[in-house]
Subunit: 286 residues, 2 copies
């Protein structure tokens, strides 16, 4: 059975749209600001997708596009302005940044309450302590698609291939919170196939086409493909979908799997940021 990320994402967006209408009646106009530095075709496409998604639910969108040779300090100053701007509820910095910048330092500049990517130390710390913070969108989207399909997670053995700060590590914490047993594998792991074959839920976040082959997957496993790889002008995942899908109980396709869920979670995080503002300080007018 194919886990239809587009369908679930559309359902989530429909709900957000209604919620945003209610916010607007209280004179709150949810707004996302995205920072792009330099030119990168893939980044431009990702940003355009985010913009379209925002517009489709009624979130205001602003792109701050800076030149390649912008200094890190200048970028950070622009971010600080948006931190202070009460009309802005979410701030994203599009990765990759030019090589002369330290990404982690730049991300850390974002006010945690507006950090809709969940990358700041404060939000990672909240995830660590199982407190309410803004959670990284791709990991959040993975958990959500499983929940939307009523797939039980508790007690399951989850194997995640990939240990990045953006996907692997936060996803491990989220699965632990859902009471799964969690294994993290990576490029230095040995006997990968032996371990992945034990997985009830197998997540690949490697970035290599056809990395996950049939012999790595247990019969009736659930396979989540986080990979986005370009091959011969097509976007494909990490999983050899043709051969793996027949033996799975559930599988996410690429495209139309985790990708649209990630975008839906960005929108949701912007709305969460708006709602928190209401709960914390009473309604604030933008």
């Amino acid at each position: 059975m194919i886990l239809n990320g587009t369908e679930i994402a559309n359902k989530i967006k429909e709900n957000l749209k209604n919620e945003i209408e209610s916010l607007k009646k209280m004179d709150i106009n949810p707004k996302l600001v995205v920072f792009q530095v330099g030119e990168n075709d893939a980044s431009t496409i990702y940003i355009r997708n985010k913009q379209k998604a925002c517009e489709s639910v009624g979130i205001d969108f602003e792109l701050v596009h800076l030149e390649e040779n912008t200094s890190q300090k200048e970028l950070e100053n622009e971010i600080l302005k948006k931190n202070q701007d009460p009309t802005v509820h979410g701030i994203l910095v599009q990765s990759p940044l030019p090589k002369h910048m330290k990404e982690e330092q730049v991300f850390e500049t974002i006010l945690p309450e507006k950090d809709v990517d969940g990358f700041t130390t404060t939000n990672v710390g909240k995830l660590w302590n199982q407190k309410t913070g803004l959670i990284s969108c791709t990991p959040k989207g993975v958990i959500r698609i499983l929940k939307e399909y009523d797939i039980p997670i508790e007690g399951k053995h989850v194997v995640i291939i990939g240990r990045s700060n953006i996907v692997g590590k936060p996803l491990a914490l989220l699965f632990l919170k859902e009471n799964a047993s969690v294994t993290i594998l990576h490029s230095k792991s040995k006997e990968i196939a032996k371990i992945t074959k034990e997985a009830d839920i197998l997540v690949s976040a490697v970035g290599k086409p056809n990395f996950v082959t049939k012999d790595m997957v247990k019969e009736n496993a659930i396979v989540i493909d986080v990979g986005i790889n370009r091959l011969d002008g097509k976007v494909i995942g990490d999983v050899d979908f043709l051969n793996v899908s027949p033996i799975c109980s559930y599988i996410t396709p690429v495209p139309k799997g985790v990708g649209p869920m990630t975008i839906a979670m960005i929108l949701e995080n912007v709305v969460i940021s708006c709602n928190r503002k209401i709960t914390k300080k009473g309604v604030q007018h933008d």
Copy 2:
């Protein structure tokens, strides 16, 4: 082969003693402050052990013992004073705190540079990002004992039973940093024995006597016992040592395994805190 924590800890302490002598020649007197609130016999023993360890290497030790009915605010104010005191290099708050206090909030009050337990969000964030911070002492001690015995970690499958913020989670990050494959199990995990039997390195941080039995351990595995349990007036670990030890390649005993390593790492963290002070701001006189 038994991994002798006491012996390794003594070696580390001997080195620290020399390092501390050099610090003292620069008029820097390393100092640890421990906060205890209320009366708890186990806590009193733990604190006394820390005090003895400090004295054995030349670290000044101060116990701030507050009454059971101290308010959280009062405790936090006392911590803030030690944060500001330049003669103090390490601050520990002995757990458990009385029930009317929120431990996490109290820990968060400690200045990250003096947080020798590595519990603050800042230090967790540094561990997450593989930056240099103060690392939680028990996980650090586990990695150290393996390294001192020249046991290779890279590519090994490590299974950790226990997902606490103090042991399981930070230890998982440390093993990932060492390029091990890492599995985390816990009370809601299913088929625990099946998974632990795959472990090259098995770590138990459960807190139940004889939890790890022979049938859960692979032949020639390395077994690390983090448990400290009191049974019939004796201190024992989580592992059924008598039956498990014959099939392991290496095993830590309890006592004299991870326990003394934890204490040695506290001392090391105090010295790291002193050294940083020198590097960052030039030599400061206490």
